[in-house]
């Protein structure tokens, strides 16, 4: 008890605010360091990934918490590529997906399923299938995620889950592919971060993905010229 009391006292005086802040965040890959201060996502926030490299970016964001022990739940994204997911660093052992049946979930079922996911998982990855969730339901779910401290990442813009942070990928250029020769080895893309708590947009260039399937900020030197 004595230790707890001392810790509480220190936290009150602001001495431990750094520690507390770190617990309220989920750390992501260091390559996002120039976009996200401390390379961390605020717990309870909603992040939308948009543009041509949205899926890769969303998986790369989920990889950081996943490697730190968090579970990732996927909903409304039946076409997720598992090989790419694993290459980008999401741990398959802590990945769960809810697939809609052929006739789809109704709004009440979506609400129940997503609520269960928010209660049990730290990262939720929502795909286009969740576009059908009603705005009111989504608002309640976002409030629940804030209370519980789960991070919601949407693949593509999903209006009902309006993002606190918005990553826009653009100017993607694939390397390694020629006219009938070569093989795609990596994609250079510009990533721009905007959002409520970002006073001015931040930009960076990333390999999404690099030739080994991960993401990197450093350019990868091509070993043999193609094209």
């Amino acid at each position: 008890m004595a230790v707890a009391a001392t810790l509480a006292e220190l936290a009150e005086r602001g001495v431990l605010s750094g520690v507390v802040a770190r617990e309220r965040t989920l750390s992501v890959s260091p390559v996002f360091g120039s976009l996200l201060p401390g390379a961390a996502l605020q717990r309870g926030s909603v992040v939308s990934c948009e543009g041509s490299a949205a899926a890769t970016l969303a998986l790369a964001l989920a990889a950081g918490p996943s490697q730190a022990g968090a579970w990732v739940a996927v909903a409304g994204f039946p076409d997720i590529g598992l090989a790419a997911t694993a290459e980008l660093g999401v741990v398959p052992a802590r990945l769960v997906m809810v697939a809609e049946p052929a006739d789809g979930f109704n709004d009440a079922t979506w609400a129940d399923v997503l609520a269960a996911m928010i209660d049990g998982f730290d990262v939720l990855l929502l795909g286009p299938g969740t576009l059908r969730v009603r705005t009111g339901t989504a608002r309640r779910l976002v409030a629940r995620a804030q209370a519980r401290g789960a991070v919601i990442i949407t693949v593509g813009a999903i209006a009902a889950f309006a993002g606190d942070l918005r990553f826009e990928t653009s100017q993607a250029s694939w390397q390694g592919l020629g006219e009938g020769c070569g093989i795609a080895s990596g994609r250079r893309a510009r990533v721009e971060l905007t959002g409520r708590r970002v006073p001015r947009p931040r930009q960076t260039e990333l390999w999404l993905p690099a030739s080994n399937g991960e993401i990197e900020s450093q350019p990868v030197v091509a070993l043999c010229p193609t094209g």
């Binding site: 968090a70 076409d79 090989a83 790419a84 398959p92 020629g178």
Partner: protein
């Protein structure tokens, strides 16, 4: 070891394969209970046919085709066990439910009342057997481990087993028994016991005969623990103590609560608060009293024990068991007004605990519970987890399997890559979007005709447009010929990567002149 507190005299009441008893197996009926596709309990008839704990479903069915299959449901087992707890509680105070099917109590008081351990054991066994119709085993010994082993022996012989008082007697009883019991009774990791076997230590007596210091030096805290219980000591880990009063957390409801959901929700808040408090001091609760009271003064109080420590999720689960059993066996006349969680035994949260848990974290436990709820809402076939499959195509390396058929916390089996190589696999990066059902598309050359690939892998003309969109770059064909030995299932196809002018990189396949969009590098 001399500074240890005296080893308490403990009685353990144990029913073999309790969940089979709950499933209502007739005397000669083969029944098995499955969890994550593996047998966790089976009836005697099934055991006689070769079904064993830990077998896979298919293997067990092959040995015993007539076996009835029941799903593992700890909550149902706990509800049914309440009858036994109540019957024994008539004569014994402060019963500890270790898990459904096993209960533990201090033997000294009841034995004195009934005139000796043997008389007490006979009475308790009779009460338990009458309450359920199952046959229970009861063991009395100094130390929880020895008593647990005695209970197992008693279940086999049908007579209560009473070991003489004193650590020497317990040690002598344990000495000729196999070390495997460490896993079965005290949930010591299997790897540790297997390692003992490889080192030539096959019996508990041989382990106890080793010098404690050497065991500690070789195996650390886990070895010390195993050595202690093998030599008849208590299974209280070093650093276990009774906490000061005032750690209990409780909630008083101004409006009586009638639904167990609400209580369980509150229990979760209380449990997290309690675990947080203890964790701040580096401690974990091993014995918890859960108490609930209604407006009319009806009370339910149970002691729950878990040697590896109760996490918040485990506490909530026990609260749920207790409340459900209470509501089922007594007619409650009013809503619940009080819920209290009181830790009565805590110990320092050390490395041993992690070992016993297999490195499980709080996040894992919440996730497993969330999956159970998602399955209840969405259905078994809708909640999926990845499993390694192996294959040449991007959709084949992993497959999704239903989460209920696997053990979420033991993923090695489903995620161990096969050693076989898959020649013809495309190198990484892999596509982030893989279409579950490929979409038919058109690929045309400069003259507007469909591009064809010959049997020898030549392309009729460079592709210029995909679905009307201009092609910027492309590569291929990478031919695949699968199962050429099987006429009905053989496939020949060629794969292409195509980059369109809008910057989309597509993975296409052509089979018998038809082009398919199989995946996208989004």
């Amino acid at each position: 070891m001399s500074d240890r507190v005296a080893i308490p005299r403990v009685a353990v009441l144990w029913c073999p394969h309790w969940s089979v008893v709950v499933a209502g197996a007739a005397r000669n009926e083969p029944v098995m209970v499955l969890h994550a596709n593996r047998v966790v309990a089976h009836s005697l008839a099934a055991g006689a046919d070769g079904v064993a704990v830990g077998q896979r479903r298919r293997e067990a069915q092959a040995r015993c085709p007539l076996v009835r299959i029941e799903q593992h449901d700890p909550a149902r087992d706990a509800r049914a066990f309440e009858r036994v707890v109540q019957a024994v509680a008539e004569i014994v105070p402060r019963i500890e439910v270790t898990e459904p099917g096993t209960l533990t109590f201090m033997a000294r008081g009841p034995s004195r009342y009934f005139g000796g351990d043997v008389a007490m054991a006979a009475t308790v066994t009779r009460l338990a057997n009458e309450a359920t119709g199952a046959s229970f085993g009861l063991g009395v010994a100094d130390g929880r481990f020895a008593a647990g082993v005695a209970a197992r022996r008693s279940a086999r012989s049908g007579e209560p087993v009473v070991i003489d008082a004193g650590q020497q007697a317990s040690a002598a009883f344990l000495a000729p028994l196999p070390v495997r019991l460490l896993t079965v009774v005290a949930s010591v990791p299997t790897e540790f016991v297997q390692l003992l076997g490889r080192l030539g230590v096959h019996h508990l007596g041989e382990l106890a005969a080793l010098p404690l210091l050497d065991v500690a030096a070789r195996f650390g805290p886990l070895g010390t623990f195993a050595h202690g219980i093998a030599s008849g000591g208590d299974d209280r880990l070093p650093g276990t103590h009774d906490p000061p009063a005032g750690l209990a957390v409780q909630r008083i409801f101004e409006q009586p609560v009638h639904h167990s959901d609400v209580l369980v929700f509150v229990a979760r808040q209380l449990a997290e608060e309690l675990v947080g408090q203890l964790a701040a001091d580096g401690r974990v609760c091993t014995r918890l009293v859960v108490a609930a009271e209604t407006e009319h003064g009806e009370k339910s109080e149970r002691v729950w024990y878990r040697s590896s420590g109760l996490s918040a999720a485990a506490m909530v689960e026990r609260v749920r068991w207790q409340l459900e059993a209470w509501a089922q066996h007594e007619t409650l006349t009013a809503g619940v007004t009080l819920l209290r969680l009181d830790p009565v035994e805590v110990r320092s949260d050390d490395g041993v605990q992690l070992g016993l848990w297999g490195g499980r974290t709080q996040a894992d436990e919440w996730a497993v519970r969330a999956v159970a709820r998602m399955v209840a809402v969405a259905g078994e076939q809708q909640v999926l987890v990845p499993s390694v499959q192996g294959g040449r195509h991007s959709h084949e390396t992993f497959e999704w399997v239903s989460a209920v058929t696997t053990d979420l916390l033991e993923p090695t089996e489903r995620l161990t890559p096969q050693s076989a190589p898959w020649p013809g696999r495309l190198p990484s990066p892999s596509p982030a979007i893989v279409h579950a059902t490929p979409q038919a598309i058109t690929v045309t050359d400069a003259t507007g005709r469909a591009v064809r690939v010959t049997g020898r892998g030549f392309v009729s003309a460079p592709p210029v447009a995909v679905h009307g969109e201009e092609v910027q770059a492309w590569a291929g064909p990478w031919p695949v010929e699968e199962r050429w030995w099987d006429l009905t299932r053989s496939r020949r196809m060629a794969r292409f990567q195509v980059l369109t002018s809008s910057g989309r990189l597509l993975l296409l396949a052509v089979e018998r002149g038809q082009w398919w969009l199989t995946a996208e590098y989004a």
